[in-house]
Structures are given as structure tokens and as C-alpha cells.
Amino acid sequence: MHLLKGLRRVAAITLLAVVWEVLPRTGVVDRTFLPPLSEVLTALANLAATGELLDHTQASLGRSLAGFGLAIALAIPLGLLIGWYRPLADFLNPLLELFRNTATLALLPVFVLLLGLGETSKIAIILYAAAWPILLNTIAGVRGVDPLLIKSARSLGLPAHRLFQKVILPASVPTIFTGIRLAGAYSMLVLVAAEMVGAKAGLGYLINYAQFNFRVHDMYAGIITISVLGLLFNVLLASLERRFSTWRATS
């Protein structure tokens, strides 16, 4: 069953690879704009060999992880606070609704205006994008704690801060982790857009710059790299999430 499922997954990707190879070669699509996969992979290997790819990947990962890490460090405490203090939640809720429904990239020009074209604005926009799912999930996690568990702990005369530490926090961990996993995906998505504006390195820059200079092969190589990177990041976070929520298996 597992094997079959695995085969099917590989099958779909193989199919995509074959289509990508065949369509340009048979002339169904213009190979100037979509070169065959094998040529793209050769370009990828060349980029890797010169070390250029590594430089861009490092630049990208650095930004992405910085924004992502800062988002975790800021959004979790803030989310716990908002989830715990009802009046604060009531006060902030309209604001949260407004911002969560504003497309992140619409704010990119604002970030650039305020923080300049350098690293600060790039990391800031990633931080901003990644903070939302963590913040909202943390709030939902705290709010969603089974009232009976709170009642049970309260009946033991547990003071508020220990109730928080011993019940609210552990109970919300799985929900918070879902937010972290989503944030990981967001931080990769926004990264590319951020690097298309005023960057001198990074995979987003590579893709954009290659397209500009008609290095179509390199452009696709960059795209493949970033999608593999995103995939790996997600797999890593998903396995972490599973590890922290085993107890939620059947409740």
C-alpha cells in the first residue's frame, strides 16, 4: 500500500518531467521560453559547479530563516498574550482582521519606502508574512484549550501563571506548530518576491536577473532550486509538528 502510494507520487513527478522534456523538443512549445528539462538540469549543474548557486541559496536561506526566526520569537509571545487576555483580544481584533486580509506583497513597497532597499526591508517583509499564521494559530490555540481541563486545573487551586504554564501552553503546542509550519511555507513564498526588488544575491534575484538577461535556462534552474528548498523546509517542519502533537492522535 505504502509502496503503491509512493510509486504514484513519483509517477506524477516523472510525468511532469517527461512532458517538460518532450513538449519543447517536439516544438509544441517554443524551446526559447521553455527549454527541455535536461538542458535546465545541465544549467543547474553548471550553476552549482561555479558555486554561484550556493551563494544565492545561502543569501536566500539567511533572509528566510532570519525572518522566520524573528516571526517565531515575536508572534508566539504576542499570540499567547492576546489569546489569554480577552480585553486585549477584543481591542485588537478589528486591526487583526484588517491586516490579515491585506495581501502581504501589497505592503512590500511600503516596507521598501520605510526601510530602504537593503536587507532590513527584505527580512522585515518575511517576518511580517510569517508572523501572521503563527500569531493567529497561537491565539486560536490558547482560546481552544478544553474548558474542562482549565476547570480541572483551577479546582486544584492553581494560580493563573501556573495554570498558563502547565495547561494552556502545553495544550496549545500542536496548534502553534501548525502555525509555524504554515509560516515556513510563507517565508519561502515571500522571499522570492522580496528578492526581486533591489537585491544583489539570492534565488529570487537569480530568477529575476536571469529572466532579464534572457538566461532562460538559469531562470528555470533557480525556480527548481527554490521549489525543492521550499519542499524540504516543509517536510522538516511537518515532521517536527508531528513529533510535538503525537498526543493529539485520537482525542
Partner: protein, 264 residues
């Protein structure tokens, strides 16, 4: 015997949204629970049984009247009372053992002693082999055993039980009832046990307090006396008599409760 818990003229009102009139859940309750006694409390659904338990637990305060524990008014929750809920209320991220330790952590017991005591009480409820299991890996009956062990572990004087066996199948329920009696005899706790089951109330209680439908009052307190609490108590002729008395007391109340729109 002296009164462990003394409920004096307790009334509990709740304010209801969109209503000027408060909702009276309990009205002028008078009841004494003796030290070391097993008292069961039966009443039709919605009669305020659980509200009374919340008051005893100190989770809410009465609107009028007072509840004394060892002669001192209850002013909040505390480790002198342990609660067992119908839905177990186990912490799903903790193992059975760690769940039992919870109350001891609240009491700031040292880790070693915590472990030891928790193991002792898991043993008492017959779950020695399941210490490292998580709640979702245990059956309903086992979860309730863990919950009972958790409430016993921090050594409260009073055990408050809110329909603890209502969610279990008949066979598991009977087993746990027997075990609860065994544990009660062994630990000498004062037990207040809420149920809507007449059989359960008569089987477990030394006294059965029957409540009226909303607003809840104590209608009657029945002394249940058997020659010996051994063997098949339910087959005892007097079991049937007691059962019938409680049934008759409850019948009118259940009918009255049906007349009302279900609230709470």
C-alpha cells in the same frame, strides 16, 4: 459523627443574557455531609447537581448562604478537595503517571515522592502496567481510573464526583463502582457522588440525597443500610425497597423537569 461539609441555606442565581430575572439554579439548600461518609446526590437532569458541585469545589460562590468545610467557609478551590469529572479531564499530553502527578505538582511535592505516590495510586486503581500510556491509548474505564487516582494522589479529605461513570458501559461501570467502594473503605475519604442513576445512588451511598427539579432543593435524604456491603447487593430485597423509595421521590421531579424548557 461531625459534619465535614455543611451546606447552609445556599442559593445560586445566574444572570441570563437578555433576561432581567436571574436564573435560580439552586434554592435554599441545607445539607450536612459527615466525615468519612459516602453521600450520593440524585436529581433529574438540570436540577443544579453540577452547580452544587462547583460550589463545593469553590469554583463559584453562592448567591446566598454559605458552605462550611470543617467549620470554615469555602472561599475558593483547594487541595483539600479533589474532583472527578464525567469526561475524565485528563491532560492528553501527559502520560497516565504524569496525570496522577499533576495535583502533587500543584502541591509542590518533590519529584521523587511525586513519582512514588503516583505509582502507588495507579496501583490502587489497578493500572500499574499503564503508567507510560497516554490518555488516548486508554479505554474510557481506564481513563476514569487514572482520574480517580489523580484526585486521590494529593490526599484531599473530600472527593467530589460528578457523574463519573455516566459515560461508561454498564459492565465497566459496575466494576468501577465496586472498586470505588473498596478504595473509599481503604482511604476513609468523605465522598460526595453526583449521579442521575437511582441504582448507582442506592448501591454506593450510605445516604442518598434526592434533589427536586429546578430550582434544585434537597427533597429528602434517605439512609441506606445494609447488613453487609458484600456479595450481590443489588439482589438484596432491601435494595429494591430503597430503590423504589428513591424512584417514587424522583418520579414527580422528573415529570416536573420535563414541563420546563431545557435550560443549562
Amino acid at each position: 459523627m461531625t459534619a465535614k461539609i455543611s451546606i447552609r441555606g445556599v442559593t445560586k442565581d445566574f444572570s441570563v443574557r437578555d433576561h432581567d430575572e436571574p436564573f435560580t439554579a439552586l434554592h435554599d439548600i441545607h445539607l450536612d455531609v459527615r466525615t468519612g461518609e459516602f453521600l450520593t446526590l440524585v436529581g433529574p437532569s438540570g436540577c443544579g447537581k453540577s452547580t452544587l458541585l462547583d460550589l463545593l469545589a469553590g469554583l463559584t460562590a453562592p448567591t446566598h448562604g454559605e458552605i462550611l468545610l470543617d467549620g470554615v467557609p469555602i472561599e475558593g478551590p483547594g487541595l483539600d478537595r479533589g474532583i472527578v469529572f464525567q469526561q475524565y479531564a485528563l491532560f492528553p499530553w501527559r502520560t497516565a503517571l504524569a496525570n496522577v502527578e499533576f495535583g502533587l505538582e500543584a502541591k509542590d511535592t518533590k519529584k521523587r515522592e511525586r513519582r512514588e505516590r503516583a505509582r502507588h495510586f495507579l496501583d490502587l486503581v489497578g493500572l500499574s502496567g499503564f503508567a507510560e500510556r497516554y490518555p488516548h491509548e486508554l479505554s474510557g474505564g481506564m481513563r476514569q481510573r487514572v482520574a480517580i487516582a489523580r484526585s486521590l494522589a494529593f490526599d484531599p479529605d473530600v472527593l467530589l464526583m460528578d457523574e463519573p461513570f455516566a459515560a461508561l458501559d454498564a459492565q465497566t461501570r459496575e466494576t468501577l463502582q465496586e472498586e470505588l467502594l473498596r478504595i473509599w473503605e481503604k482511604t476513609q475519604k468523605t465522598v460526595v457522588f453526583i449521579t442521575h442513576g437511582i441504582d448507582e445512588a442506592v448501591y454506593l451511598g450510605q445516604r442518598v440525597a434526592v434533589m427536586t427539579s429546578r430550582p434544585g432543593r434537597i427533597k429528602h435524604v434517605l439512609d441506606v443500610e445494609f447488613e453487609a456491603r458484600e456479595g450481590d447487593l443489588r439482589a438484596d430485597a432491601r435494595f429494591g425497597d430503597y430503590r423504589h423509595v428513591v424512584w417514587t421521590l424522583l418520579r414527580d421531579e422528573v415529570a416536573a423537569a420535563r414541563q420546563e424548557a431545557p435550560v443549562g
